[in-house]
């Protein structure tokens, strides 16, 4: 293989040190700086390209991050910049790392934004939904580019990481939980009523009763609930009280801290 300029380490280092300013952090900027310097007329286009492609630049780091197939953490950016510097140019390491950090979204950026959304959801007394995660990722994407993974991929990962189902999936699971409650005939559990209009009893996955709902008359529902030692709740109250627990592709749907169903996280 014929040697290229990249094989002449000292030459590349000296040329870059002399003719490439510290703030030229991209390949194009390096190429422009070299073309405009006294080196430009002395060397071929291939040599200029060779230097620009082999010198530590944002492009070189971004390509490496892209190749990793994952959004980087801040620590990983630091490590990638170091291993992408073939010519031991400490000054460039610092400026390129700063440039990459200010333009590339990191795991920490996303996690921080997601935590804010989780806090907001908790303050509103509801679970965190996938839409909250999407919002957090979009917020990061407004100021930084996603390299290695797309915003959609990061959203899906983060949603699984914190167990955030979509609001639609959550509402659907809630509706199924309410609709699938055991139908109890009040006359069978109360001595002083002949009402046979059923009341729905929601059980946890171990079979224990967690709440009663769906009575035609609230008073009757409360009496049935009292028999089971639980609270009577309207369907809306049940839905508002449901939460989630767990992480991964499928999380638990909880009521009063007890598991009453499951919901998929997509």
């Amino acid at each position: 293989m014929p040697k290229t300029i990249a094989d002449y380490e000292d030459a590349v280092r000296r040329i870059a040190a002399k003719h490439v300013p510290a703030d030229a952090t991209t390949e194009d900027e390096v190429r422009r700086a070299l073309s405009g310097s006294e080196v430009g007329p002395q060397v071929t286009r291939d040599v200029l390209d060779g230097i620009a492609e082999n010198l530590l630049t944002e492009d070189r780091v971004l390509e490496a991050i892209e190749d990793s197939g994952e959004l980087p953490s801040e620590g990983e950016i630091d490590a990638i910049v170091s291993v992408a510097d073939d010519y031991d140019m400490d000054d460039r390491v610092e400026t390129v790392e700063d440039a990459v950090r200010s333009s590339v979204a990191t795991v920490e950026d996303v996690q921080g934004a997601v935590r804010d959304r989780q806090d907001q959801a908790a303050a509103s007394g509801r679970p965190t939904f996938r839409e909250d995660v999407e919002g957090a990722v979009d917020e990061v994407a407004e100021t930084k580019q996603f390299v290695g993974e797309s915003p959609d991929e990061v959203t899906a990962e983060q949603a699984r990481e914190i167990g955030a189902p979509s609001e639609t999936a959550f509402r659907g699971a809630a509706a199924r939980t309410i609709a699938n409650g055991d139908q109890v005939n009040p006359s069978e559990v109360l001595e002083d009523t002949r009402s046979e209009t059923p009341v729905s009893v929601i059980r946890d996955t171990d079979g224990g009763v967690v709440a009663a709902t769906g009575a035609q008359r609230e008073e009757l529902g409360e009496q049935v609930a009292e028999q089971y030692g639980v609270e009577y709740m309207s369907a809306q109250e049940v839905e508002d009280s449901l939460g989630t627990r767990g992480t991964g592709d499928r999380v638990s749907l909880t009521l009063g801290g007890r598991k009453v169903g499951e919901v998929d996280v997509e």
Binding site: T4, R14, R60, A64, S68, V83
Partner: protein, 417 residues
């Protein structure tokens, strides 16, 4: 220069750096602070000159040598000229430089033409320069002349000779979008009348011309293709979902490309060792760095590769020489089905001729592993901090990435994590 010497003269350094047979001359051409540029003319052999043919024939080589006193280096530059080692050639060059000297010194009429010399007997430079040559007719970098002369593509087709892609591309775009894949990232241009790629650059539909390819792309989420060349060998009992299938002009419709989507292609890559092709008895599995020819594309006589016919030659098969034939066609028009990586691996395992897993220990993927530092004791090592991990830990604790074409490893999460 003696091995024990602490110093050497610039002459000795240049002689050593060039390793020439004989230096004929040296001219200092430029000085920049402590850096001095020279041109040295030497006799050597072509195989010792970067960029010259790798044969030991004698050449004259004029080359820039850079002497830098700031760090005491002598570097042979790649700014050079090599010519046959011949007195007439050298004399012609001398005369040419003599004319340049005269021009630069103002001794020549500015309107005078260049000095023309030939150092080769029987080649008159005047006649050479005036001789007419035929320009190839190209369009978008493709040779229309050659295509017309070979036939097999109907120029009356609206997309003939590169006017645009065949209309079937619209169906492909719809199928890709239906599968949540960007058409723009997957479609590339092929050479007209052939299945060879133009440049493998993904393009929007309106930039396609003539035949086109559907890239599979070496990424975790995306397309895989089964190139079924020998349908009789395909495991009959294996149950694949109904999906888009495209046949080539050669053989019947059972010889086809089965196009599928998988969200964990990386797992298949792990199995077969690279984003590559896995050959089995029924044909090939393609997962990454390949493309399938898009339906509607048409092979011409010179693009035909059927049987013993060599692409580029005249006389392809009946289908490809027929202007109405030679098409890649959709033989199963269905949405691109999704399969998991395990299904594909299972298909390989039940296919005759699948031996990679048994072969793997003796034949690791050298390209993928060549640049990876295994560190002391052969353990995978972080190229940044030097931390070593066991083979079991490495996939989880080290992150692999490509920098300038070579593989590097860093601690996952960063070296301080």
């Amino acid at each position: 220069m003696t091995p024990d010497a602490d110093t050497a003269t610039v002459r000795e350094r240049i002689e050593e750096a060039l390793g020439q047979d004989r230096i004929h001359g040296l001219t200092v051409t430029r000085r920049d602070d402590e850096t001095v540029y020279c041109v040295v003319v030497q006799s050597t052999t072509a195989d010792r000159v970067d960029g010259a043919p790798d044969y030991e024939f004698p050449v004259l080589d004029a080359r820039t040598v850079v002497v830098d006193f700031s760090d005491d280096t002598v570097t042979v530059g790649d700014n050079g000229l090599w010519v046959p080692q011949d007195q007439d050639v050298a004399e012609s060059l001398t005369q040419m430089f003599g004319r340049a000297t005269s021009d630069l010194g103002g001794g020549t009429d500015p309107d005078a033409g260049p000095a023309l010399k030939s150092a080769v007997e029987g080649v008159d430079v005047g006649l050479l320069l005036e001789r007419e040559t035929e320009l190839p007719t190209t369009q978008d970098g493709q040779h229309v002349d050659r295509m017309e002369s070979h036939g097999g593509i109907d120029p009356s087709r609206p997309w003939g000779y590169g006017a645009g892609p065949p209309p079937e591309v619209d169906d492909v775009v719809a199928r890709l979008e239906e599968a949540d894949l960007s058409a723009e990232e997957h479609l590339t241009r092929l050479v007209w009348g052939k299945k060879e790629p133009m440049d493998r650059v993904p393009r929007p539909v309106d930039e396609l011309a003539g035949n086109y390819g559907i890239e599979l792309l070496p990424r975790d989420y995306g397309l895989v293709a089964l190139d079924v060349d020998y349908p009789g060998e395909f495991p009959e009992e294996f149950d694949l979902p109904e999906t888009l299938e495209v046949s080539s002009p050669h053989g019947d419709d059972s010889r086809r490309h089965i196009i599928l989507k998988c969200s964990q292609k990386g797992k298949i890559k792990e199995e077969i060792g690279a984003w590559a092709v896995q050959s089995v008895e029924w044909g090939d599995l393609w997962i990454g760095d390949r493309y399938v020819v898009g339906p509607g594309s048409q092979l011409s006589e010179f693009g035909c590769d059927d049987g013993d016919h060599t692409r580029g030659d005249r006389g392809g098969c009946d289908a490809c020489t027929d202007e109405e034939g030679g098409f890649y066609r959709v033989v199963n028009d269905a949405p691109i089905a999704t399969v998991d990586a395990e299904t594909i691996v299972e298909l390989l395992e039940v296919s005759d001729g699948y031996t990679l897993r048994e072969r793997a220990p003796e034949a690791p993927d050298v390209d993928d592993e060549a640049d990876v530092d295994e560190g002391d004791g052969g353990l995978p090592t972080c190229d940044n901090c030097g931390a070593s991990y066991t083979e079991e830990e490495a996939p989880e604790l080290l992150k692999e990435l490509s920098v300038g074409g070579s593989t590097r490893r860093i601690c996952r999460g960063g070296c301080d994590a």
